[in-house]
Symmetry: C2
């Protein structure tokens, strides 16, 4: 239990460029309400959503150019940061004191109801304050005790959003041991997590990635990599050459024509699961390639409570080892985001509130 | 057990127009081989595949303009007819004589293996001789005893291909009681079967169909119908107006832009299942409308052995009542196909070998 009154936090003051993200040292330490806990943040990881939410780049269903967060309006000031690992240091009414001092991984989602497959209604660091701070308050039901995990806080903080999204994809596609899985965008946050999680469940992973990052993607669990730098036809031909009998599943965060063509590489009954479409959101899809072979195209966003529980099992067992690409003090979050946006890293970039050294 | 040596059959002699389909009276009665039975055909139903196979309209993966059947080359002469109900009148070696005299519904598929979800490797009336004949020989494992069914042979013959395909769609989409389901092409063979089967499992069906056929589609089990005659935007708007909270599933045999837009009417986690694409095989699909809402696009062709077993349960219980739109003597098959191709009927058109009256 701390007796600080104020803390350091990165505060988003409005939609805009990096200048609207302010590191402040006078932010009130939050107090947990009923059924909530306060977590002293050990580490928090960076995600694309931090940037896109700051820019208000999500638009709305009615107006794609409107400035909005993922789920709609953002209330400012807002502390971002959906990926939090740390230690419970205070509990609110109705929460057992046994949680005090436990090392926890925070499920960043709030759900519509208590069922295992409930839809997500709000996300940590978007609709409510998150982990780019010394302390954050979350619902007690959303903290998972990982005290015994062999992973560091920095490794744990790599997991929730990227690996939660990847776990959602693997679960929704029903990927099991022994299956052959193609992962696209495999050096990105979600892609790299999908490689590691698919390998952890015994799938044989072929990863599509840039040559310079191939070694690290193989280290994460890919049995082979395919160079993504050529035209889509070449990438798909290389996948087909590597798997003349077809692949059981495609785990895709790229979209566009490449996804449309990768459907053709699936075995009968094969599944393509998609969670993003940076290469093109509205590709032409040949329905015949789906229905003549009983193939399935599955959309997937983030995770469910059931998926997250499976991710926590991996965190506890330590059978996945997320790669920390870089580590910054929280006060150096602007430098951290600059490196993030250069997109040369493989793995996750984390910020550490307890680190009081100047930024790199 | 009959002691006829020859029989009447409609024999396809080559790819071509109606002239390559010859009604002959000197066709040898087939003899069941090991693990096979002979069925005296009570009724056989017409399907699009009869026409398309006769025309060789399926093409091949390498050459869309090649003349080929659904699964590739067709050996002539070929007796078509994949929808057969009748009575077992002879058994081959290794088959129990208890089957003799049983009224059966024939699963038209041959499967790659004995598992419940095995892929289909051949289809009755396409890769081997079918039911446009007085007798047909099929694998004993593929006949289902429906002796006690309240359905007539003509009603039973309506089921295998159209209702098997519809059952495959409902099963692959996991449609359950209480769900709201939109069925497109609802007056067609597969569509009408999907309406009846979805209603039989307690789903609430909204059917998209032409106005003139709406009453019969409602009789088949649709709670409401939506006129398909307007532009796609109007059809989709009408579905949305009828279901402002979204629909759980879309069962589609039409494809094209309409399917692409109907995806948007699905609830989060909703499923669209597609088995045909007469309105356009390669629509632009907005992947964001899939992944942001965890929606799924499922391709489905025909059925599995497990699906067919569920269809047989309905046939035995009589809780579906397929509509016989018209009935012809087998020898009048050309007239039957002419009516079929006018596409004014609702339900299935059947031919009856035992009927020796001249065609209508």
């Amino acid at each position: 239990m701390n007796d600080q009154a104020t803390m350091t936090a990165a505060v988003l003051t409005a939609f805009g460029g990096p200048e609207v993200l302010a590191v402040r040292h006078d932010v009130p330490v939050p107090v947990p309400g009923r059924e909530q806990v306060r977590v002293r943040v050990g580490a928090a990881a960076l995600n694309n959503t931090d940037i896109w939410t700051r820019e208000g780049a999500y638009g709305t269903a009615d107006d794609p150019d409107a400035r909005a967060g993922w789920l709609g309006p953002i209330a400012f000031p807002r502390i971002q940061g959906g990926d939090v690992a740390g230690v419970v240091d205070a509990v609110g009414a109705g929460v057992t004191s046994e949680l005090l001092g436990r090392r926890v991984l925070v499920d960043p989602a709030r759900y519509a109801h208590d069922g295992p497959d409930a839809p997500i209604t709000a996300v940590l660091g978007s609709e409510f304050d998150g982990g780019f701070a010394e302390y954050t308050v979350v619902d007690a039901a959303r903290v998972h005790d990982v005290t015994g995990s062999p992973l560091t806080d920095e490794q744990l903080a790599c997991l929730p959003i990227a690996s939660g999204t990847a776990m959602g994809m693997l679960e929704r596609a029903g990927i099991v041991a022994g299956e052959t899985v193609v992962v696209t965008g495999a050096a990105g946050g979600v892609g790299l997590a999908a490689v590691g999680l698919a390998a952890a469940r015994g799938a044989r992973v072929t990863a599509v990635t840039e040559q310079a990052k191939a070694a690290l993607v193989e280290q994460a669990g890919a049995r082979r990599t395919i160079d993504r730098s050529g035209p889509v036809e070449d990438v798909v031909a290389a996948v087909r050459a590597a798997h003349p009998g077809g692949v059981d599943a495609v785990v895709d965060v790229v979209g566009g024509d490449q996804l449309a063509r990768l459907i053709d590489v699936l075995v009968p009954g094969g599944r393509a699961v998609v969670a993003g479409a940076v290469a093109g959101p509205v590709p032409a899809i040949d329905l015949r390639r789906l229905y003549l072979h009983n193939r399935v195209l599955i959309g997937s966003t983030m995770h469910t409570a059931a998926h997250f529980a499976k991710l926590v099992d991996h965190a506890r067992a330590g059978d996945i080892r997320p790669r920390v690409a870089a580590r910054y003090a929280l006060r150096a979050i602007h430098e951290a985001q600059q490196q993030f946006l250069r997109r040369e890293h493989v793995g996750k970039i984390v910020v550490v509130p307890a680190d009081t050294t100047p930024g790199e």
